[in-house]
Symmetry: C2
Subunit: 644 residues, 2 copies
């Protein structure tokens, strides 16, 4: 009855919650966000915590996820455990989304340092013309006279037309209200904020005096797992800062599908998910604005890029029909809105543009990525490969583009892998195994907490090369290496011993992890192969392969080829570009031509539904081998330097 006090360790956070609240809810109240793949359904086992004070009993659900030893030590699943007494609870690092990780999220997307205005290495004019979506122009107007007594707002538009190439200006009512005294009180010296709106420009506000230097924008990559925002000075194009955050929607489900289910089947689910992403973005805005000491009202434009579901949830649109055949979203392109319409805290007249998508599973993040790597702007045929829970592939040039999406699973983002983690602080991102000795490097150079995508790729490669696993991913027990052990009836390889790790136990790769990784890489490769076959091109006819994804700040391309994730071509033709979605969003923010191009890219791309393309399944099965069952596809790969 009544309230119970819960203390969380190691941080010591304390909260009081009502009788029958879950430990998951208590943790949220304490500002601690627990991992959850399933959205609190008790079916993923990610939210395990250890109860060290008070009474708690693991329920039926939990028992399947916990070893006898763990049960005896008081481990429970937080989402399934109801609070009946005061309690003390230890949250292990694996279960926690740490604030520290959130802040450091930016490190891994390669934008930690302020950058000069975007340079798209491959884009031609006019995309790279600097013409931000929102601009501030300082105007010194002539005072009216009997000879020149045009209306105040016409006087402003006349000056804007003189100063810019644009003839038509729309005005909001709010910018007209109070205008007369604003002009007269400030000797006809004011600053107009104008923003691109469709084919026109719109006057958003008139400020007294010269504020043209105080104009900021945000490029935001709204990822399922991570949200990253860049603060950009719109007058210069300089990136002033970057901040990253876990997507708080993870409270309601870790992956896109479980969030769609939550949105569509839970009462108020859509609002909760919409509210969560708005909260994340507002937090990032506050972080960046505070850090740089600028008022949020000086932020006048946002470009957001995300997958189709994320864009829908951001705008409060239901994603329900996205997950059901024939996979139809509410919208492919989105209207420009005032950020305030969805309660995002920037200038009340500030605009938000959402990058258009191609289809339910090829979203604005991919369109933004295509913009960033310039595929749509040149006659040479190139490809973009975005490896995530869905692997999306684009092949094309300035004449045509095709794309597809394959469900690859979250393995390369650390999901479904026992020691997998996202590419954040403490993740092992590089591994070498020489003579049975394991060398690794972590993000942030801290103790290892898990292994991220690039580390997993390295790991597979090194395990095969060292003959610890065979080409199907099965362990060679015959090697008798001390790092290969059996636990709970399954073989595993110790990457880092518990004493080296921050996780309290050995970091290992299990045989089942290996299966997951091979299935993931097979799906991605099969998608690349199917799409290139579909358009009748061999890999050699595709000039460059751009690879995007949350692997880490680093990707060993040669090893990615060697495990059969990427096609076996000259590694020099493969370019790892990191967060291309964020890069494209910034380009669109800084160039209205680039923004317009995103719409053309989205409209011009043909989506191939792999589920309706029979050869895909054969390709997938053929790719369930390291590097591939058809070794002719990987002529350069030779794990053991054999004679051919």
């Amino acid at each position: 009855m009544g309230l119970h006090k819960i203390t969380f360790l190691p941080g010591g956070e304390r909260v009081a919650v009502k009788d029958n609240a879950t430990l998951m809810e208590a943790a949220e109240k304490a500002g601690l966000y627990l991992n959850s793949l399933c959205g609190g359904e008790g079916v993923c086992g990610r939210c395990r915590v250890q109860v060290t004070g008070g009474k708690a009993k693991a329920d039926k659900h939990s028992i399947g996820f916990l070893s006898k030893e763990e049960l005896s030590e008081g481990y429970v699943l937080a989402c399934q455990t109801v609070v009946k007494t005061n309690m003390e609870v230890i949250i292990s690092p694996e279960s926690r989304m740490e604030a520290e990780q959130i802040v450091m999220g930016g490190v891994v997307v390669d934008y930690s340092q302020p950058e000069k205005i975007f340079v798209s290495k491959v884009s031609a004019d006019p995309l790279s013309l600097f013409e931000p979506l929102a601009q501030k122009l300082y105007l010194e107007l002539n005072e009216p006279s009997s000879e020149d007594n045009t209306a105040d707002s016409d006087r402003i538009m006349r000056e804007l037309r003189r100063r810019t190439d644009y003839q038509t200006y729309e005005r909001s009512l709010r910018c007209l209200q109070g205008l007369a005294s604003k002009l007269r009180d400030n000797s006809w010296k004011v600053t107009a904020t104008i923003a691109k709106h469709g084919e026109h420009w719109r006057i958003l506000q008139i400020e007294p005096g010269d504020t043209s230097d105080q104009n900021y924008g945000l490029a935001i990559d709204v990822g399922t797992a991570t949200v990253v925002a860049q603060l950009v000075h719109l007058k210069s194009g300089n990136v002033l800062g970057v901040a990253g955050s876990h997507n708080l929607q993870a409270r309601y489900g870790e992956d896109v599908i479980s969030r769609m289910v939550f949105a569509c089947e839970k009462e108020g689910g859509l609002n909760a998910l919409h509210g969560a992403i708005v909260e994340v973005i507002n937090n990032l805005i506050k972080t960046l604005a505070d850090e740089k000491g600028i008022g949020v009202e000086k932020i006048t434009a946002i470009v957001s890029a995300g997958n189709t579901t994320m864009s829908h949830l951001l705008l409060g649109l239901t994603p329900c029909s996205i997950r059901m055949d024939p996979y139809v979203p509410t919208a492919h392109s989105f209207p420009q809105i005032k950020a305030a319409e969805i309660n995002i805290n920037i200038n009340p007249e500030g605009i938000l543009e959402t990058v258009a998508n191609v289809a339910s599973y090829v979203g604005g993040d991919i369109v933004s990525g295509v913009l960033a790597c310039g595929i749509a702007d040149q006659p040479q045929t190139k490809a973009l490969i975005d490896v995530g829970t869905n692997g999306e592939i684009v092949i094309g040039n300035n004449d045509w583009m095709v794309c597809c999406s394959a469900s690859a699973g979250p393995a390369f983002e650390g999901g479904g892998i026992s020691c997998g983690m996202r590419a954040t602080r403490g993740a092992i991102q590089r591994i070498e195994i020489n003579n049975g000795k394991v060398l690794y490097q972590t993000i942030g150079k801290t103790k290892p907490r898990g292994i991220c995508g690039s580390g997993l790729i390295d790991c597979i490669y090194e395990l095969v090369r060292n003959r610890f696993i065979d080409q199907e991913g099965k362990f060679n027990v015959s090697t008798n290496h001390e790092r290969i052990i059996e636990k709970d009836g399954e073989l595993e390889f110790i990457v880092a011993y518990s004493q080296e790790a921050d996780a309290g136990e050995d970091l290992t790769i299990k045989e089942s992890d290996m299966s997951n990784l091979i299935r993931s890489k097979a799906a991605v490769f099969a998608a690349i192969k199917s799409l290139s076959d579909y358009v009748g091109l061999s890999f050699s006819e595709i000039e460059t392969f751009y690879v995007a994804g949350g692997f880490g700040s680093y990707l060993n391309v040669t090893k990615a080829i060697a495990i059969g994730l990427l096609p076996d071509i000259d590694p020099g033709r493969i370019s790892f570009i990191g967060n291309s979605s964020l890069m494209g969003a910034r380009m669109a923010l800084l160039s209205c031509y680039a923004f317009e191009r995103t719409i053309k890219i989205a409209n011009g791309m043909t989506n191939i539904e792999l589920s309706n393309y029979p050869p895909f399944m054969d390709e997938y099965v053929a790719a369930l081998f390291l590097p591939h069952t058809n070794l002719k596809l990987f002529p350069s790969v030779d794990y053991w330097q054999r004679e051919r």
Copy 2:
């Protein structure tokens, strides 16, 4: 101390007001709106009421406006009288803006009967193409399939493009939210409301099923004195009803200038005036919607036309710079807004367009009038003369147009004339005097309460013709007619004896009234003459003169010529068109081509500032005679059938 009860007669309305409230405030609280030219400053003497119970004393201000007899009978000025006791107060008909008049207001604007879709007698295509600003289209969409899995909103736009000539559609975020289930729950049968927005069309809302017949719009003439709204069925173009109301802004000042002063010099003045006109419009909307049994959410578009100050006040824009040299308004053209932005109660996504103005004293009402009479559409040169407190003149054709505005005073609207009144129920609108016998006709065929513009014109003419006044407007005492009497040292002519009238006293025209009327007609004629001279045209070169204004439903053109108000041309070339502002607003509502034309008309018209045009004052002085000092200008006018 405390509250005092006030009873108003003859209606018996009762209210309780605080100590020291004014009787004017008490009347407002009772829903009774008193005449006030000065905005409650005690300087116009219009709000006289008789206190028959309780204590009240006429203050210094009031004494100058009330005769000894009136003072002894308890008359006071309501705006200057403070409540100290319970009171009983009689509001005389002259002082009251009656609800009855308000409802009947429509009668006088010639739109009492539902009409078919507008017919502009002179306009050529494409203005008369029926293409309402807001339209509802019933759509039966194909259900999505794997072969046709475009997004929901793209599916709608595709169908709209197929059904209309418009290729680009904007969408509001609100119309996308909830769209997916709306389509699926209604078997893909929905109705889209689209509205013209600049060069594009905008999807305002998607409704389940077929609601295409339930789409209504409003044309509103926002006059300084009277606001008139027509409810239009947007599918057929039929006018379903009309409602008129006094402009409640009169609480704060009867004429444009006093309202500008109120807006600019009183704290909160602008908000009060803005709120008052919004209240009027919402009342009219409610009246019309209730009368026709339709929900206000089915009203999707409004076109409002008013003078520059009225349009500014409607939109909450300060009119302060309009009244000061060089007479610069905030805006000539206005953005389309959601009616909800200014709290007008129609569909929350419904649009409001405000007709553009030419200059501070040539407003959207004139632009709307020019649209209605088709001046801008034909090669023949024509003129529009709008007689009101400001007389506005337009001369031109489809190639050029000039306009001007002259301060004529409110005489022809009944202002500043002792028995003058607006053209509402009880107003004498026609007068004939034969052999000393006065025949008249009132609006609504009721007892006379005063004389409106057309009656005053008749009256002047008949008085001259019967030699009761001379050509300077002075009474001929030598006639010794019983209707010419002297009162308070001034001569006056009895139009209706007290026993015939509803006003309790004789309705008379005084010598000072005659001076006011002559000054008014002189200003209007001088403006016509100056403007035609300015463009180098004689009256004979102007094919048609359209005359608009609140004279009544009737105007005797021959008599208007004979008193020198209108040029002496063939009366057949003069066309009285009544409320052309409302007519034009309806045209714009029903044809987006017509609406676009209003913008071109406003932009294309050259305004001549008469205050900067020296010949105007000479013309004015020359016109202070009946019909004119230069009789050559009025060759056909011969009051007494003299030999020439």
